[in-house]
Structure formats: structure tokens, C-alpha cells
């Protein structure tokens, strides 16, 4: 790790009511790094992203971003600091056009290189369909809007929650193909992914969660199928 980590999560606990979804999770992500977060359903992957994004309050633990404690801040304030979440299920604004969905992302007021035309360059289909209602797009295009909307806030850390869910393999390949380009500009990316092989191929490091705990962490290229399977299922 060359520099101090961009994001540092330490001993994080999180709850849904009485259910403890995260148990003492610690994780570092450096600028420009792609980290895959894998684990079975209910392992706490999405909860971890939502907690970092400020959508869920963590009663214990610390989240430090760029040297400043951001735990307890509301989601919109976290976006302003430079963390953007691409939510599971895409969650586009259905009564807004494609272009308006993207423009909303820029309303947080962070300046940077990501503009409407850059996003449309990255995903040409979105330029062609700028005026269409977002719900009229295919699933893959909707996912592109969701990623583009997040990029429009000029994040330094992009959190991607299940961006391949419900999409055909070819579309998933196209979407994953843009991640290295985004990371090359210094944007760190955390991907939560069900498809472990794809997650390992796309990332530099991998973190495996089971029942809210980190059970494996290391370089993706060193993670064997057996080690991941053992961590995944606890066998």
C-alpha cells in the first residue's frame, strides 16, 4: 500500500433492529484501488456499503475518509465528501429522464472531471437516450445511468452494490469493462458481487464476509477458489 488509505473502516458494528449485521468489520481502501467484497447472502456486504455511505448508522466503530471521521454523517453529507453509492436495484428516479437522473448526481456540488458529456462518452447509449424516461431503458442501460449518476458527484470512492444483478453476461462484461477506466483516474472502487470469479478478476484485493465478520482478506490474485469457498461457507 503506497499511501495512507483513502477509506479506513475500523471495528464497525451495524444493526437492523435487533439483528447484528456487521461485527467488528475493519477494511482499508487506497485511492484508485478496486476492492471486491464477497460473501453469501446475508453476510453483511450491502450493509457495509450502506454504512459507509451514511445510510445506516453504526453504533460502534470508526469510518475515516481522507483522514477525517465521517461516521454518523448523513448520506448527502457523505456524498459531498466524495463517496458515492450505486445502490442495489439501481433505484433510478422513474419520473425523471435519463439526463435528469444524471444531472441530479451533480447537484451535490462537487466539482471535478465527471460531467454529463464525460459520462455519455463512457456510456454512449445514455447520450442517445438522454431525453427518454429512465424506466424505458433496458436493465443494462439503467445500470449505466445508476453508475453515471454516482460519477456525476465526482466521487473519490465509488461503492457498487450488486451491479451485475439481473443482467445478461454480455452486458455485465461491458459494465465491468469501464471500472478500470474509472479507477485509473484515482477513484477507489468497492464492489459487492455475487459472482466471485468476476469479482476476483476485476479487483486488486478481496475481502470475504461471513455472518457480519471479515473472514478472509488478501490480494485477489492470491485467493484460491478453495480458500474463498472455505471462507464463504465456513467449512
Amino acid at each position: 500500500m503506497p499511501d495512507a488509505p483513502l477509506l479506513k473502516v475500523a471495528n464497525l458494528d451495524a444493526f437492523y433492529g435487533d439483528f447484528q449485521a456487521l461485527r467488528g468489520v475493519s477494511l482499508d481502501i487506497a485511492a484508485g484501488e478496486i476492492v471486491a467484497i464477497v460473501g453469501a447472502n446475508g453476510a453483511g456486504k450491502s450493509t457495509l456499503l450502506k454504512t459507509i455511505a451514511g445510510q445506516i448508522r453504526a453504533p460502534r466503530g470508526a469510518i475515516t475518509f481522507d483522514g477525517e471521521a465521517i461516521g454518523g454523517e448523513r448520506a448527502h453529507a457523505v456524498v459531498r465528501r466524495g463517496i458515492a453509492l450505486v445502490p442495489e436495484g439501481r433505484r433510478l428516479f422513474s419520473s425523471l429522464s435519463v439526463e435528469e437522473n444524471l444531472a441530479i448526481g451533480a447537484q451535490s456540488g462537487r466539482s471535478g472531471g465527471w460531467t454529463l458529456s464525460r459520462v455519455q462518452q463512457l456510456f454512449p447509449a445514455l447520450g442517445e437516450r438522454a431525453r427518454q424516461p429512465s424506466h424505458s431503458l433496458s436493465g443494462g442501460q439503467q445500470q449505466m445511468v445508476a453508475i453515471g449518476r454516482a460519477l456525476m458527484s465526482n466521487p473519490r470512492l465509488l461503492l457498487c452494490d450488486e451491479i451485475s444483478l439481473g443482467l445478461s453476461p454480455l452486458i455485465v462484461r461491458d459494465i465491468y469493462a469501464v471500472l478500470p477506466d474509472i479507477a485509473a483516474e484515482g477513484v477507489a472502487i468497492a464492489i459487492v458481487e455475487q459472482d466471485v470469479a468476476r469479482a476476483l478478476a476485476a479487483s486488486r484485493r478481496v475481502v470475504c464476509l461471513r455472518e457480519g465478520r471479515v473472514v478472509l482478506a488478501g490480494l485477489s490474485q492470491d485467493a484460491t477458489r478453495e480458500a474463498i469457498a472455505a471462507a464463504y461457507f465456513g467449512v
Binding site: 448520506a75 441530479i104 456540488g109 458527484s153
Partner: protein, 288 residues
């Protein structure tokens, strides 16, 4: 010709009802909040205009330069410090809290201004009229009121579809949780919507006070008129709200023409008929 005149007056009165309704429709659309105190806030605005006109000696329409921003500030504060805390999956808390607010505003006004009827004088605007043809004339005040209602609805429409804040209003209306995730401060956006709503309430309050006598108790009936206009027109459609106001105004005028005692009843019957046969309103917004 008498009938034509009644209907014309009903259409113009509909403009006032649309003004009552526009703010109500706006905040319901943005944050699913039914503001039971809406009518009392209209009356509050009328009293604020009374104070401004008496203190500064300006006419009621000029007083809006102070009353509208004043009401907007009240709206922002009300939302930020009270109503935001009532919003959630449950529709009941905001209903109860705004009901309480309604009682507080009514009694506060009663305490300060007594139960006496008041009226704002607009220097002859109330009585000025243009004859269109024998037996048919258009009053200056109703005409102005109608024109302002059209301008307010048109302005809101532009704001919603052409500006960044309008885009934010539509985004939080679609999905408030995700709006927060993409960087919108929902509490601020909601407070801006309430500020805008109460600025429109100020306009409605001034027209109400110039048109007829007012006292602290008349708010709830204005709420009903506004509510009926919103439902008749269809939720979430601002031009529909204007149409709803007009239909309500015409129904009342026609009822009054048949028998003076039937004015309000005819309006309520029109509302009930729409609820019975088109519960989504006449011009509902197409939702996806």
C-alpha cells in the same frame, strides 16, 4: 345570460380555489404530507397582510412583497424544525401534528385579532368591472385572481420541469431515500417545498381577504375547497388542480343560481361525484 354570467363568475372564483389548492398539492406531491393547517395558514397570511397594510399604509397587493417572503420563511422553519420530524412511512403523524397546528394558529389569531370580521381594502379593485355584453361582466378582482392562479400554476410547472430545484422536488417525490444517497439534503428540499407552498398561501390569503370578510375561524373551509380542487383535478397534476378549482367554482355558482342555500352543497356534490366515479380525479398524472 344570467346563467352564462353565473358560470363565468364560477370559473373566475375557481382561480381562487386553485390558489388555495396549489400549495396543498405541491407539498403532498413532494413529501406525501397532508397539511391540515393549510387553510389556517391562508388566514394567517390574510392577517399578516392586514398588519402590513395598516402599518405601512400600502395596498394589499403591494403588501405581498413582505407577506410572501414572510410566509415562505415561516414555511421553511415549520418544515425544518417541526414537520420533517413527523415524516416517515406512517401518514398519521403529519396529519395529527398539522391538525394541532391548525388549532394553535386559529386560537393564536383569535387571541391577537379577536373574532371580529376583517377585510382588506384594495382601493376600488373590488368593485371595478368590465362589461362584456349586457348582463355579462367581468370583475377586475376575479379576473386578476384568475390570471394570478394561471401564472402560479404555469410558474410551478416551469419550476418543476426546467430548474434544478424542481428536478430535486421530483426526485425526492419519487424516492426520498435514494435522493439522499445521490447527495440531496432531503430535509432542506422538503423545507424549500414548504416555503414555496406558503408563499403561494400568502397570495391566496391576500386575495381571500380582499374578496370577502375573514375571521380566524374560516381556515378549515378554505382547506376543504383546496382539498376538493386537488382531488377533482387529480393528484400530482398542477393544471388538473386549476381545472379542479374551476369545476368546484362553477358547481358552486350553478348551485347558488338554483338556490342561494345550495352554493356550498353543490360544490361538495361535484366533489363526491368525482370521488365516486373517477376516484383518481379527472386528470391524474400518469405514473410509471
Amino acid at each position: 345570460m344570467e346563467w352564462a354570467n353565473s358560470i363565468l363568475q364560477g370559473v373566475l372564483t375557481g382561480g381562487l380555489y386553485a390558489l388555495f389548492a396549489a400549495g396543498l398539492s405541491l407539498i403532498f406531491g413532494v413529501m406525501r404530507l397532508v397539511n391540515i393547517a393549510h387553510g389556517d395558514l391562508i388566514v394567517l397570511a390574510a392577517y399578516l397582510a392586514l398588519v402590513v397594510t395598516q402599518t405601512l399604509g400600502v395596498d394589499p397587493l403591494t403588501s405581498l412583497a413582505l407577506v410572501a417572503p414572510g410566509m415562505a420563511l415561516i414555511g421553511y422553519g415549520l418544515q425544518r424544525f417541526l414537520l420533517n420530524h413527523t415524516l416517515g412511512d406512517d401518514l398519521l403523524p403529519p396529519l395529527l401534528v398539522t391538525f394541532g397546528l391548525s388549532v394553535i394558529v386559529q386560537n393564536g389569531l383569535l387571541e391577537v385579532f379577536t373574532a371580529d370580521s376583517r377585510r382588506l381594502q384594495a382601493g376600488g379593485l373590488e368593485t371595478a368591472a368590465w362589461p362584456v355584453m349586457p348582463g355579462l361582466s367581468v370583475g377586475a378582482l376575479p379576473a386578476l385572481q384568475f390570471a394570478v392562479a394561471v401564472a402560479v400554476v404555469g410558474g410551478l410547472q416551469l419550476l418543476f420541469y426546467k430548474t434544478a430545484i424542481g428536478r430535486a422536488f421530483r426526485a425526492v417525490s419519487d424516492d426520498a431515500e435514494t435522493a439522499e444517497l445521490v447527495g440531496l439534503d432531503n430535509r432542506h428540499v422538503f423545507a424549500l417545498a414548504m416555503a414555496l407552498s406558503l408563499a403561494i398561501v400568502a397570495i391566496a390569503g391576500v386575495f381571500l381577504a380582499v374578496r370577502a370578510n375573514f375571521d380566524p375561524s374560516i381556515g378549515p373551509a378554505r382547506l376543504i375547497f383546496g382539498f376538493e380542487a386537488v382531488i377533482i383535478g387529480g393528484l400530482g397534476n398542477l393544471w388538473g388542480t386549476l381545472a379542479g378549482g374551476i369545476i368546484l367554482g362553477v358547481a358552486q355558482a350553478v348551485g347558488a343560481k338554483i338556490d342561494p342555500g345550495w352554493q356550498l352543497l353543490a360544490g361538495h356534490i361535484a366533489f363526491l361525484a368525482v370521488l365516486a366515479f373517477r376516484p383518481e380525479g379527472l386528470f391524474p398524472r400518469v405514473r410509471h
